[in-house]
């Protein structure tokens, strides 16, 4: 598995889409800090852009890479190698490549321009997020053999996590505004990894003061070390579920 992951990573680091993502992250990271003088505002801008783009890029590229490597997968599996080793290698190689692009591309300008705990949290949660979305992409691809259907499905999932989920939360908050539903909203937030990452970062900044009553519950939770540990554990759980799900799918699926 390690050998396959190693060679796939070498291939991926030379891939134009990975290099392009890296350059895009560099442009976003340095560009927004160049435009905005206040480092905390710039951090929030970087966060909003990356939390939207990072899942989209990792989802689409992971899917395309997996489908485009079909014959290579077949070639590997015509040897006495367990299926799980091959899909694990894909997961590791894609995660390493995107982690590299994100950590250097966004992390460097972030830590140099705003060396603060929230930058570190943003960097860590961003990495968790891309591992989760690599896992989601592989989970879908190992279930759906048709490339067009697979990519279509991950796009729908991205739209759900990036926009629709928050819309649903807002709807619930407005409909049941008269009731004390802050804790319910807090729990529901854990169903969306983008929200966990976003709130974990925002709660470390002054912007959290603008979130009203529900914000107070969030600040209490995410603002504390315990809350941070729980939210990172939730992200880790997301990674584990998606990773194990894709391994399970791949072991049982027809190729």
């Amino acid at each position: 598995m390690i050998q396959i992951a190693r060679y796939l990573t070498i291939d991926l680091l030379k891939n134009r889409a990975v290099i392009g993502s890296f350059l895009l992250f560099v442009a976003i990271g340095w560009g927004l800090f160049f435009i905005e003088n206040q480092p905390e505002k710039a951090l929030l801008m970087v966060m909003q852009v990356t939390l939207l783009l990072l899942p989209l890029i990792t989802l689409i590229f992971s899917c395309i890479y997996y489908y485009n490597s079909y014959e290579f997968t077949v070639l590997l599996l015509s040897n006495p190698i367990k299926r799980s080793a091959v899909i694990q290698a894909f997961f590791i190689a894609l995660s390493i490549s995107f982690s590299f692009a994100y950590t250097i591309g966004i992390g460097l300008p972030l830590l140099l321009n705003n060396p603060s705990p929230e930058s570190v949290i943003m960097l860590v949660s961003g990495n968790f997020l891309l591992w989760i979305f690599v896992g989601i992409a592989l989970f879908i691809c190992t279930k759906v053999n048709d490339k067009v259907k697979g990519i279509g499905l991950v796009l729908i999932l991205w739209a759900f996590f990036a926009f629709l989920f928050d819309g649903l939360l807002i709807l619930i908050m407005y409909q049941f505004g008269a009731y004390p539903i802050e804790k319910l909203i807090l729990i529901l937030t854990f169903l969306n990894p983008i929200d966990i990452s976003r709130i974990s970062v925002i709660m470390q900044t002054d912007a959290s003061a603008m979130m009203g009553l529900s914000g107070a519950v969030f600040v209490d939770f995410f603002g504390s070390m315990k809350g941070l540990v729980i939210s990172f554990s939730a992200l880790l759980l997301w990674v584990a579920v998606m990773y194990l799900g894709s391994v399970r799918n791949f072991r049982k699926s027809d190729l």
Binding site: Q3, I4, Y7, L8, I10, D11, L12, K14, N15, Y65, Y67, N68, S69, Y70, E71, F72, V74, L75, L76, L77, S78, N79, P80, I81, K82, R83, K252, D254, L255
Partner: protein, 236 residues
């Protein structure tokens, strides 16, 4: 070497293979042919463990392939390589495969050398022509000295010299007692090397005959003419 018993495979409502029973023996060169959608690829994928049969069982050298990967050490597969990691070089593919198959000490580099794989070793897989990919695929299939070779359209994109080299190599491994399964649409390429023809149609074995049987029943010498004559009742 390979024993297929009552293998069926369905995809949704479509039945790709209908209760197939076949035996492949040592030293045989079998042509697995049939029209598109007849079930050739499905059958090969089941042998390789890439598809799971809906029913039936399959043994390779007496070992049931279900939940087993070790049997694949005896198989060399030459796929049609089109979708590959484009930046991985030919040298890296061979290095990776050798690392994965450390157990094999004696490599068969006849095809590797005949096709001058070293000459293209620095090229990325994405930059290879169809013929070059075919050569890489063939060299990998033979590299680990397998007892069973499964060659999927082996001559589709090869130039005449490489085609002849490959046919000579197939004849040599057959003489060594190995078994070869070839799928091909180009029947003239199989002339002189295959000694048994299995014709699949609509997921069933339409006929399974030795070359001698086909020759005597059709009175033809060329494989493509034998097949056409054998199919005539069905075509009419």
């Amino acid at each position: 070497m390979i024993s297929i018993k009552d293998i069926s495979k369905t995809f949704g409502k479509q039945q790709a293979l209908k209760s197939i029973n076949l035996e492949f023996k040592k030293g045989e060169c079998v042509a697995l042919i049939g029209p598109n959608g007849s079930g050739k690829t499905t059958l090969i994928k089941i042998i390789l463990g890439l598809l799971f049969p809906t029913s039936g069982n399959l043994t390779v050298n007496g070992v049931n392939i279900e939940k087993n990967v070790d049997y694949r050490a005896d198989i060399g597969y030459m796929p049609q390589m089109s979708r590959l990691p484009e930046n991985m070089t030919v040298a890296q593919v061979f290095a990776l495969m050798k690392r994965l198959r450390k157990d094999v000490k004696e490599l068969d580099t006849d095809i590797y050398e005949a096709f001058d794989i070293d000459g293209m070793s620095k090229k990325g897989l994405g930059k290879l022509s169809g013929g070059m990919r075919q050569k890489v695929s063939a060299a990998l299939a033979f590299l680990f000295n397998p007892d069973i070779l499964i060659l999927d359209e082996p001559t589709a994109a090869l130039d005449p010299v490489s085609n002849e080299n490959l046919k000579q190599k197939i004849s040599r491994v057959l003489a060594d007692g190995k078994m070869v399964i070839i799928t091909s649409h180009n029947l003239s390429d199989l002339d002189g090397i295959v000694d048994r023809v299995i014709y699949l149609m609509d997921g069933e074995v339409y006929f399974d005959k030795s070359i001698d049987e086909l020759r005597s029943s059709t009175g033809e010498e060329r494989l493509n003419k034998m097949i056409v004559k054998s199919l005539k009742p069905q075509l009419v």
